[in-house]
């Protein structure tokens, strides 16, 4: 096994035992990128020089034994919607094609303070709008398990980079499933924390009432470690909450004996792939075998979640994306007057999916339609939240599939936006309600493509879903499988 294939906790142990240096580990990751990223195209920017400098710095700190951070010296990747000081940040859009941020996102600053090595910025659907990483203005990313398929989205670059060992772990963002859905497609672990758990300061905004930053990792322990490093209140983000951050990595053990796990009947419906259903049912049986009590529950408003989500998300996006006017940063077109400059800069700078969503959101917020669409969606959102509140009165966590199918083919859904939107059907409700949820691998279909299991928690109860996920992971081998092991 090469150094690049290590998990975060194994890499950290290896560095601490002086079995390798951060420079060696970083070179192994850079070599892996050089060997495989020409095909996978997970990265938009690889910061080789910066990574080498940070690794040397980390080696100095390691030799002085001054820091006990598990991230010290470990090469990580960031989705290209995290602002990184001095390092190009494009959000996979032409409108920000040359943008170099003057400051770091709070999460990035936390990683740097912990001594992590930032290797580069990963591909995404433009402005995080999409479920396949095909909507990038620069190039699509390929699924490491099958180059003809998508890695999922919008954090598809981060998911592919982790799955292909082109980094040790990564961060993504999740507005409607953008961490969990690509994690399921690529056979890795993806955690979307509770809304407000992690600062959004310096993350390029898409839908502000739902966006949340989270870890994308090779196993559950790594997710716990990374969440511990980035969680907590940030005065710069008025929506981040003032709550103590538990030691998630110490809350993994204990198993599921006596835990009540809800299985919502609305999540097992026509349209899901039989192999996905079988794998998820097997995973639930495994948790039951370990002593969990499985409860049949109902989330009756599930089928409305996609409609609610696309009204609210596009409304917020149309407002957030109004700042791209070509005046202070970003692409500016040559035009006769101010209004034409706005119109033409935005026409040239935004891709088709972004325009579609701005149009939809502007429509939903415009005079005469606000109550019929936006306000109605917010009321149905309350019903979706109420469903979860009622379910959590009788269970400690909820277990579902992450996606109705395995990774689809590149180009398969690009012509039909509604079909693309439906691939997030199992993840969206969680964002509407602000809950934490994790996706982890629970099997493979006949074609050898990974299947994801989703565990949803009570607000701010990340510890329980990590514990359930860890218990399941310990009993199976799925998370140890690599794309090249495919038979």
């Amino acid at each position: 096994m090469t150094l690049a294939a290590l998990t975060l906790h194994a890499a950290s142990d290896t560095l601490r035992r002086r079995e390798c240096s951060s420079v060696e580990l970083t070179e192994a990751v850079l070599a892996r990128i050089a060997a495989s990223d020409e095909n996978i195209r997970a990265y938009l920017t690889v910061d080789r020089q910066g990574a080498r400098d940070q690794a040397r710095q980390a080696d100095k700190l390691l030799s002085e034994n001054k820091s006990d951070s598990p991230l010290l010296g470990v090469p990580l990747a960031l989705k290209d919607n995290f602002l990184t000081r001095g390092l190009k940040t494009t959000c996979a859009s032409k409108i920000l094609g040359d943008f170099v941020p003057p400051y770091d996102a709070t999460t990035v600053a936390k990683l740097r303070n912990a001594g992590a090595v930032i290797v580069g910025k990963t591909n995404l659907d433009e402005f995080a709008m999409g479920s396949s990483a095909e909507n990038s203005a620069f190039h699509p990313t390929r699924n490491p398990w099958d180059g003809a398929r998508v890695p999922g989205g919008s954090s598809g670059g981060s998911a592919a980079a982790v799955a292909a060992d082109e980094c040790i772990a990564a961060l993504g963002t999740d507005t409607g499933g953008s961490i969990r859905q690509p994690a399921a497609c690529c056979g890795i672990v993806g955690l979307k924390p509770s809304y407000g758990r992690v600062s959004r300061y310096g993350i390029i905004a898409f839908a502000s009432s739902m966006d949340q930053v989270g870890p994308m990792t090779k196993d559950v322990r790594d997710s716990a470690l990374l969440l511990e490093a980035i969680a907590g209140h940030d005065p710069a983000d008025a929506t981040s909450v003032q709550r103590p951050v538990p030691k998630y990595s110490e809350a993994l053990t204990g198993g599921v004996k006596g835990l009540r796990l809800g299985v919502p009947r609305e999540y097992f419906v026509a349209g899901m792939a039989p192999e996905v259903e079988q794998a998820v049912r097997r995973a639930i049986a495994e948790l039951e075998k370990q002593g969990a009590r499985i409860e049949d529950i109902s989330l009756p408003h599930t089928s409305y979640a996609v409609a609610v989500y696309y009204i609210i998300a596009t409304a917020e996006a149309s407002s957030n994306l109004a700042r791209y006017d070509g005046m202070r940063y970003g692409h500016r077109a040559e035009a006769a007057d101010l209004n034409d400059t706005y119109m033409l800069s935005r026409e040239e700078g935004f891709g088709a999916e972004v325009k579609r969503r701005i149009m939809l959101g502007t429509y939903a917020l415009s005079a005469g339609y606000y109550e019929a669409y936006y306000l109605k969606a917010q009321r149905v959102r309350a019903l979706i939240k109420r469903d979860f509140d009622q379910a959590f009165a009788s269970c400690d966590a909820i277990v579902t599939p992450t996606m109705p199918t395995t990774a689809f083919k590149i180009g398969e859904k690009t012509q039909d936006p509604l079909q693309m939107y439906l691939s997030d059907i199992y993840t969206i409700s969680v964002n509407l309600a602000g809950l934490p949820a994790i996706s982890l691998p629970c099997g493979f279909d006949k074609a050898g493509l990974p299947i994801g299991l989703q565990i949803i928690g009570k607000p701010f109860d990340e510890a329980t879903i990590l514990r359930v996920a860890y218990a399941y992971e310990q009993a199976t081998e799925c998370h140890t499988m690599k794309p090249e092991d495919r038979g």
């Binding site: 003057p102 009432s209 109004a322 006017d325 101010l338 701005i358 149009m359 917010q378």
Partner: protein, 95 residues
């Protein structure tokens, strides 16, 4: 359902997006289909349900009225499409 071209043009103006004729045509179709899908929300009785707009709406963030940012004008201007000294240069808006 298909949106009218007028409707698409009205929304595009509000959104400050210039669209080509073929984009207008395509969006009229696609937005129509998506909005039709949204119609399913009308099946629900939502009388008396308060809108839920935010998972953390109980929080009002307050802080001391103290200057915390030390903006670096040069760093902020570095991404400007056009600048003049320490100013953003923008197209003329008055004659």
């Amino acid at each position: 359902m298909k949106l009218s071209r007028d409707e698409v043009q009205r929304v595009a103006l509000l959104a400050r997006l210039r669209l080509t004729a073929s984009e207008e045509e395509q969006l009229a179709e696609q937005l129509g289909a998506i909005l039709e899908y949204m119609e399913q929300l009308n099946q629900l009785d939502i009388t008396g349900v308060e809108p839920f707009s935010h998972a953390n709406d109980a929080v009002t963030a307050l802080r001391e009225d103290k200057e915390v940012n030390q903006p670096n004008a040069d760093a902020l201007l570095a991404n400007a499409p056009e600048r003049d000294g320490s100013f953003f240069k923008v197209p003329k808006i008055i004659e």
